[in-house]
Symmetry: C2
Subunit: 209 residues, 2 copies
């Protein structure tokens, strides 16, 4: 199944993701500037166009949102992607700008998880993936920091493999960031959670705090 790539309007140009030929690309409002800068040609443009300035490119479908709406532009794009049957989402430039938008986009990952879809969000060097009652393996980040945080409620039955500080059938609470600043021992690590949502963050900076 193809992947839905949503280019959000976060700061900076972002990191050009490795694209597959069948990725479906949605540019969200000001994210169209980012798409252009990264040389990505969106298949669909979504927004109320309060952050994109300039003429819209010709020949690309546009979904115009009302400025006064319940959905953020990113959430509108997520819903469109789900309606089109995508179950794998990549949100580009979705983190590290306005805190409320970063948190809103992370809530979008929970929205996806509740509907059986997988989501990854990136931005400003951070990368976050949501794991909902299942197992996730990450490869290719030897020695790197990685954090796991309960979001939306407690995450129960959390276990890890390949991390410096292992967790075994632990409960992570939303009020206690126990899983921050863990580290890959080797090339591969795995997280599993029995109940609840675990946000797995590969942070931008290498400086611990």
């Amino acid at each position: 199944m193809a992947r839905c790539v949503i280019v959000c309007a976060g700061p900076g140009q972002g990191e050009r993701p490795a694209l597959e030929p069948d990725d479906f690309i949605i540019a969200c409002d000001g994210g169209l500037h980012t798409a252009k800068a990264l040389g990505l040609i969106p298949h669909l443009i979504v927004g109320d166009f309060d952050s994109y300035t300039g003429p819209l490119p010709e020949g690309i479908a546009v979904v115009r949102l009302k400025a006064e709406k319940d959905d953020t532009d990113s959430m509108a794009a997520i819903k469109i992607g789900l309606e089109r049957g995508f179950t794998d989402f990549f949100l580009l430039n979705a983190l590290g700008g306005r805190l409320d938008h970063t948190l809103g986009n992370l809530q979008g990952l929970i929205y996806l998880a509740e509907r059986g879809a997988a989501g990854v969000a990136t931005g400003c060097g951070d990368r976050a993936a949501l794991l909902h009652a299942g197992r996730m393996e990450l490869t290719g980040w030897p020695g790197r920091y990685v954090s796991a945080l309960a979001v939306g409620g407690p995450a129960r039955g959390v276990s890890t493999e390949g991390l410096y500080y292992p967790l075994c059938d632990a409960t992570l609470e939303v009020s206690f960031p126990l899983g921050v600043s863990n580290r890959f021992v080797g090339d591969t690590a795995a997280f599993s959670v029995v109940e609840g949502c675990l946000l797995i963050v590969l942070p931008a900076q290498e400086t611990p705090r």
Copy 2:
């Protein structure tokens, strides 16, 4: 009751808060650099000193943490503040750096709320306050964007006053950022929540997305 000001190790110098003479200032590890830059003299220094470099100032009490610990430096400082009886916390330079630390510090606000303490976190221009089953009034931000997000679980019975998009006895879910990009109508707005935690964010940038 005096306030506990925790200077975290987030990026940038941060904004010097309006200080009261009886504020108790804790510098967390690399936050000591920030405290110095802002001309703040901490009463206590806490950390495993992986992000602070240089000699520690003389005559200031130090709590040395082990590098391998469950608490982040910020959470250790929060616990020390609670042990000393503070019920009002201000986390400076706590947002906008590594995503996992930003989220960890926001979870620290939930930790405080669960113990009956009030907390505000700032960093990179963003400002976030946690409201736990109660009412909060904000004054002095006319026309400014403000967002309210459920954190840790649903927020029920959410009502607002003085906002462009009013909410009345609404339920906010952690998987749907309904309360993002609201706006002050006048100088004062109020939020109330009957059950659960509401994170109220005054975002840094004025560009909507």
